[in-house]
């Protein structure tokens, strides 16, 4: 966009126009090379015919989308009736990602608030501490989580030892385990934007509210939350979107029952059993869905702001 304005505006008189275009090159590479072209390729692949040992045959086909939405019986020759398998997986994914986002918000907001209200000098230290676990590979962290949560794992032994429970709680291979895994995977993405928002928050506003007889929770709800909402929204998006497409946590912690979109897509590209056009189609559907959810979100935001104005 910026490049367009620079070359379209006053190219004849602007002696820096050429330099400017060159300097903008990295952003064009990122925009085109790393997002538009790959998404375009995926869109094209989703309309191709599958090759049996992976890869594609360059022949236009709706087969991938047909497979996703239509149940055509055992032999694939019946008329289209709604296929629920994949829709269910999608629905479960949205639900799981939503729950993980909520969990991150509930834990992440007080954490971010705590850090942002520490003395300025020690704040970077707290942020640093939050990010330390994320230097370890996600796979290793998820496997450790599995170890911690299993029936004979430290969590259950501890709870049994202190006499809180008699039999281990089955956490592994439940929805909750997946939510926990997702929550743990993406918590910093919730904490950091909220931290940034609370740090910028003018605490004199809270004082003003208290001065005007507002109890603490009213101040939180009516003054602080509206002010830091952009950070909260950013945090929710940053946790929700990767959670939706995640496959490590559902695979390792959820078991076969709790299959999510990420795993479904992953399988299509792994080994010889894959179906590239189907994987591409599922990715496109996921992408569309995320965009729709974000659009609704942004719309609601805009409405809420207008309503207040």
């Amino acid at each position: 966009m910026a490049g367009g304005a620079a070359s379209g505006g006053s190219a004849t008189t602007d002696t820096y126009a050429e330099a400017r275009n060159w300097l903008l090159l990295p952003s064009w590479v990122v925009l085109l090379g790393l997002s538009l072209i790959p998404v375009g390729m995926m869109l094209i692949y989703s309309f191709l015919t599958k090759e049996f040992r992976g890869g594609v045959i360059w022949e236009f086909s709706f087969a991938a989308y047909d497979q996703f939405f239509c149940d055509r019986g055992l032999f694939g020759d019946e008329p289209c009736s709604v296929e629920w398998t994949y829709v269910t997986i999608f629905w479960r994914s949205i639900w799981q990602a939503g729950a993980a986002t909520l969990l991150s918000l509930v834990i992440g907001f007080p954490t971010a608030y705590f850090i942002a209200t520490r003395p300025e000098k020690v704040r970077p230290l707290w942020v640093f501490l939050i990010t330390i676990p994320y230097w370890v590979n996600l796979l290793i962290r998820t496997v450790s989580m599995k170890f911690l949560l299993r029936d004979e794992g430290p969590l259950n032994s501890f709870l049994m030892n202190i006499g809180l429970i008699n039999d281990p709680i089955h956490i592994i291979n439940t929805n909750f385990a997946v939510q926990l895994g997702l929550f743990y995977s993406y918590l910093p993405f919730m904490v950091l934007p909220i931290y940034a928002a609370v740090e910028r928050y003018n605490f004199a506003l809270s004082e003003a509210a208290a001065d005007l007889y507002a109890p603490k929770w009213v101040t939180l709800r009516r003054i602080l939350l509206p002010a830091v909402k952009p950070g909260v929204v950013a945090g929710c998006i940053l946790v929700f979107v990767p959670s939706l497409g995640s496959f490590l946590a559902p695979d390792l912690l959820g078991g076969a029952k709790n299959f999510m979109i990420g795993s479904l897509i992953e399988e299509q590209f792994k080994g010889n059993a894959g179906n590239w056009p189907f994987g591409a189609a599922a990715s496109m559907i996921l992408l569309t869905m995320v965009l729709i959810i974000l659009l609704i979100f942004v719309r609601q935001q805009g409405k809420a702001e207008k309503g207040a104005g």
């Binding site: 003018n202 003003a208 208290a210 001065d211 005007l212 007889y213 207040a308």
Partner: protein, 363 residues
């Protein structure tokens, strides 16, 4: 003013410490009902800390604060019937002007419609009715200031606290707001406690002024008293301009001290208890209390030579050097210049003053 006025805010031996640092050193003062009271001092003197202690944003390390005979220092800010106008207004950015002004009323249990109605009336009082539906960011600094004022006054507080509310405004607007605030205080009859570092502002607006420095109360009194009879060097120097000289007391007769300025020049000053003959003390005399002429016109007169004239619009500042003695700064009003001779540098002149214009200062 009736004699039986009640005490609005009574600060008793209040101390504020932050770790090892003492921000306020045992302050006691009584602010009367219906008074425009100013806490004046340079930054870091503790005036804002004291105000925030009354508002409830800072806890009191030692001592007590009473609001109309009720002890309040342990109450949280939302339970104290005082409201604050904040330095940078602290208007709620996501709320409209009307919602901002109505917030306190709503929190005090008024219904939304009642709060709206009273807020609307408050906005009328500060002449901002037409902006009710706007957001704070759409208003100018002066307008925001008035919204902050309306918001703090709307719940009809017993005492209004103002934390340098005019410091962000430009000079002209500030002057206008000073008068407006003063009027508002008289109309509403609410006790105002005003914090400022601007001595001129304090003198213009206040019934009484508490001058503070380094966490201590330096002098408390009416504006005129503070200006004309500063108690110590800090007050004399901080309030207005002054000629501050070191003098030695030569004699004390009939309640007056004869002060030696050096070079054989002598002046009669007020006597201050505790200052004996031979003491070296400071003396203050305001530049506008001095008159130049080519002859002795008052009982107190010093001979010197004009060094410099500085023209400053409303008045002319002349610097006169006494032979072998100190320099004096003299301010002559520009209004009746026609009757006065302007002395040029090099002219021999007399610096005249009434008896009592020169004041000795303790410590």
């Amino acid at each position: 003013m009736p004699e039986d006025r009640r005490i609005a805010v009574d600060v008793r031996d209040a101390v504020k410490r932050y770790g090892d640092f003492t921000a306020l050193k045992t302050i006691s003062l009584s602010i009367m009902d219906n008074e425009f009271f100013t806490l004046l001092g340079p930054s870091g003197c503790g005036k804002t800390t004291l105000l925030r202690m009354i508002a409830g944003f800072e806890d009191v390390t030692e001592g007590a604060i009473f609001l109309f005979d009720e002890e309040i220092e342990d109450l949280p800010p939302n339970q104290r019937p005082v409201n604050t106008v904040f330095q940078n207004y602290a208007l709620f950015p996501h709320m409209t002007i009307l919602e901002n002004v109505g917030f306190g009323l709503e929190m005090r249990g008024k219904s939304k419609s009642e709060a709206r109605k009273s807020a609307g009336e408050m906005l009328e009082l500060v002449q901002l009715s037409q902006f009710a539906a706007r957001k704070p960011s759409q208003l100018s600094g002066g307008q925001q200031q008035r919204v902050a004022l309306a918001r703090a006054l709307a719940p009809q507080p017993k005492v209004l606290l103002l934390d340098e509310p005019l410091s962000a405004l430009d000079l002209k607007l500030r002057k206008a707001m000073q008068l407006e605030l003063k009027h508002l205080q008289r109309e509403t009859g609410i006790t105002f406690i005003f914090v400022t570092h601007d001595q001129e502002e304090a003198l213009t607006m206040s019934d009484r002024i508490a001058v503070m420095s380094s966490g201590e109360l330096q002098q408390l009194g009416e504006a005129r008293e503070i200006y004309e009879s500063p108690r110590n060097m800090f007050v004399a120097d901080f309030i207005g301009e002054t000629n501050l000289l070191e003098v030695s007391v030569d004699a004390i007769k009939e309640g007056r001290a004869v002060c030696h300025l050096g070079g054989g020049h002598e002046l009669t000053c007020n006597e201050v208890p505790g200052v004996d003959v031979g003491a070296k003390v400071h003396m203050s005399v305001r530049p506008e209390r001095l008159f130049i002429s080519d002859q002795k016109t008052e009982s107190e007169s010093l001979k010197g030579e004009v060094k410099e004239n500085v023209f400053a619009g409303t008045d002319i500042t002349t610097i006169v050097d006494l032979a072998d003695g100190p320099k004096f700064t003299i301010r002559t009003s520009n209004s009746d210049r026609g009757n006065k001779r302007i002395f040029e540098p090099g002219n021999e002149v007399f610096v005249n003053m009434e008896q009592g214009a020169a004041r000795l200062l303790v410590d």
